[in-house]
Amino acid sequence: MTRLAIVFLRGGADGLSLLSPADDADYRRLRPTQALDPAAVHRVDDTFGLHPAARRLAGFAHAGRLAMIPACGFAGQTRSHFQAQATLEAGSEANTITGWVGRHLAATAGRTASPFRGVAVGTVSLPATFRGTSDALGTPDLSSLRLGVLRPARARQKARRVTITPAGPGLDTAAVLADWSSSPSKVAVAGANAAVAVLDRIRSSGSEHPEPEGSSGVVAAGEDEFGPGEAGSVFAAGSQVLDADLGTEVLMIDLGGWDTHNAQGTTDGRFAELVGSLDKGLGALLDRHDDLCIVVMTEFGRRVAENASGGFDHGRGSVALVLGNRVNGGVRGSWPGLAALDDGDVPAANDLRVVQAEIAETVLRTPKLDQVVPGVAGPRLDVVG
């Protein structure tokens, strides 16, 4: 069965630099200092080229394993980060409290019994995408999910590793749950029960010590394989979750820093570094997990014209990427060009919720599509075969 990884680019990634119409006359006119060099992009068709730093993505594109959807967003697209993220994670313009994957996992609760069906790495919070099920959690990495004394690394150390070693008699989780049994905070009680289920599952799967004693956190060897810095650590932690026998069906990775209002850069600079990290992480994840389908999405694209700070303010249509063996590769959907903009933005010509719905249908094989991504009306994109 194909598993799913969702990579969320928080902050609104500039679609026109990720998948660039680098020759377009309007693009070059509206971006006098921040346009990509047409000779430097990785050509994928007559119109578009991938960012120069997206070397692995270019390889996947040429191998037919990468679908690229330009001008991708949703109807009534807002320029508010928080509203647009809420819409995408809900999978619904009604901004329901539950998330689209959370509803899918709840609808298929009988398929597998595991609190690890949905896992978000790099965070202790449960992303909104997973809300609505008790079969999902957020954790920095697998090795954080055991009990003991913490020895956090100093802030200056690059990979923020934590060592957890057993201490004293250990926490009596049954006694803790008894203490909480009459608590008025139902949400906190549910969290405590979920925590115990997670610890039990980790113990019974033998994943309690995924790395040699003494090391900790993320994959110790080959950290460079997943790219540098925090993004590399999160991709490595995600790969480790997929390796473990925990029943994970959906992995979620959040990457921050895409809110480039200032000094975005072109072949080099801030955006190039972001793309380089993303590219290395995606490449390593797909190399290690052949069965994986990865969808890369962001809450909105950025304005076509650059601002006074050499950056781009919030816009509408961006780009979605889908990677994997079953993907119908190439640029998909329609491209309206940059001659007629939506209030200065790339219009949301292709519906990102159609991408979500097609993935729910073909990868998650959801039985309740009308609940998971309700009310989708846009034309099909057939991103997955």
Binding site: P115, S144, R154
Partner: protein
């Protein structure tokens, strides 16, 4: 009497509370049960006072309860709102000065030495963490500490962006100075502060000539800092506000705020229309100040601030149409946007006991209340270890102060902190404090009515400490 019950006594009291089902046991039913068993009738006045104090402080210690019982809650609030309270405790003032001394000043930051800069970055983050957590645990002005916690999320700047980090200690100090003052003044200080000018990119914005001003600050000023997403503005307004603040920038020589008239232009704003009922009388720096004054007094800001404060200090589930929220908005208006009177109203209201609901403490709150209840303040000579250990613990717990990357600040509701992964991190943080307290953070088990480390650990992981 110790504020914290041992596990044994807690279980006993839970059973008693079960017998008393039907009573209002919205919160801390165990404590109520215990009291009714000893006196025959619930001592509601003590419970009521304790509940209000738990929200106004980082822990209603026995000494504080006794002090406030004698003085009266209203008088205690007035003293909390008095700036003189900040320096009431000389040993804390010395500790705070020692914390400030660990952080680099702006002159030092002018170095180009990368290693030195990385060191300054670390000492800024660790210093701000120590100031936040140790202030919450030990400062005499407890209510101010609570209010700064809220303001730091509502008017958030993130250290994740490199130049911002160096200005965050000063930004945090500014929030502390203005925590009870007029929100309109606070907005002006925020908009002029280098941390915010850099974080939301206004420092590089300009509207002269063909330049398109940077919208980042203008948008979040309305969406996050004042009227809110449903406040009635549109995309045209975002662009106009960006024009109003063009030229609000930094002085290259001093690193401080400077208005740069050459970069400033209202564009066609003056002839086009209004922003949320406001029209500029002229251009220049004065226009931005006038707009901030207008936004601070807009009805949508009044209602939103009242709701956000009630959600933090009373109940995360409180509704916008709750009488208490509507009253708080009125108090804000009647006191010319002053925040102190709003806090006073929320915490002293007769509506408070019925409206208050239990909330999971956020990580900073959890660590601070644990230290406040169970450990003496560290001496300045141990500060280095303490700061490092505190920021390490909070990193694991997911709430290092000013490290939330997005401009909306750390989330408030229980649901955001109750995922299985977050609960396990909390249990491990408590295990660390109970069994292997890092240097300078050792707890005294007897203050939790615990006989051994295991008993202490259960107390720390129980609802009495974890909930507020």
């Amino acid at each position: 009497m110790d504020p914290t019950l041992s596990r044994r006594r807690l279980l006993q009291s839970v059973a008693l509370a079960g017998l008393a089902s039907g009573c209002t046991t919205r919160r801390l039913s165990g404590r109520r049960g215990t009291r009714s068993s000893s006196t025959g009738a619930p001592d509601t006045s003590t419970d009521d006072l304790r509940l209000r104090l738990e929200r106004a402080t980082y822990g209603a210690t026995p000494a504080l309860l006794a002090e406030v019982s004698a003085m009266g809650f209203g008088k205690w609030i007035d003293r909390q709102l008095d700036p003189a309270t900040r320096t009431k405790d000389k040993s804390f003032t010395r500790l705070n000065a020692a914390i400030d001394a660990t952080m680099p000043d702006l002159a030092e930051l002018r170095t180009r030495d990368k290693v030195a800069k990385a060191g300054y970055r670390r000492s800024s983050i660790e210093g701000i963490t120590a100031r936040t957590v140790l202030g919450a645990a030990y400062a005499p002005d407890q209510l101010r500490q609570r209010m700064v916690d809220l303001l730091a999320d509502r008017l958030h700047v993130a250290v994740s962006q490199t130049p911002v980090v160096y200005y965050v200690p000063a930004y945090d100090a500014m929030l502390r100075d203005h925590a009870f003052g007029r929100f309109s003044d606070l907005l002006v200080e925020m908009a002029r502060h280098p941390a915010m000018l850099l974080f939301l990119d206004n420092a590089t914005s300009r509207a002269d000539g063909d330049h398109v001003p940077n919208e980042n600050f203008g948008r979040e000023l309305m969406e996050l800092h004042t009227v809110g997403l449903d406040g009635g503005y549109d995309e045209v307004d975002v662009g106009e506000v960006a024009h109003v603040f063009s030229g609000w920038s930094l002085d290259r020589a001093t690193g401080g705020y400077a208005f740069k008239p050459k970069r400033h232009s209202l564009g066609g704003f003056a002839t086009r229309g209004d922003v949320l009922g406001w029209r500029p009388r002229g251009d220049g720096e004065a226009a931005g100040r006038e707009l901030l004054e207008h936004l601070a007094r807009h009805p949508a800001t009044e209602a939103r601030l009242a709701l956000l404060m009630a959600r933090r200090f009373v109940s995360e589930d409180i509704r916008a149409d709750d009488r208490l929220v509507i009253e708080a908005a009125r108090v804000y208006r009647e006191h010319d946007t002053e925040l102190g009177p709003v806090l006073r109203h929320l915490l002293t209201s007769d509506r408070f006991p019925a409206a208050a609901t239990s909330m999971l403490r956020r990580p900073v709150d959890l660590v601070a209340t644990t230290l406040r209840r169970g450990a003496d303040a560290p001496t300045p000579d141990r500060l280095d270890h303490v700061s490092t250990n505190l920021s390490g613990l909070l990193r694991v717990l997911g709430q290092v102060p000013y490290c939330w990357p997005a401009p909306n600040g750390y989330p408030t509701p229980t649901a955001a902190w109750a995922s299985a992964g977050a609960i396990i991190a909390r249990w491990n943080a408590m295990t660390t404090l109970a069994h292997a307290a890092p240097a300078g953070l050792a707890l005294d088990p007897s203050r939790f009515d615990a006989h051994d480390e295991q008993d202490l650990l259960l107390a720390l992981c129980g609802p009495d400490i974890q909930l507020v």
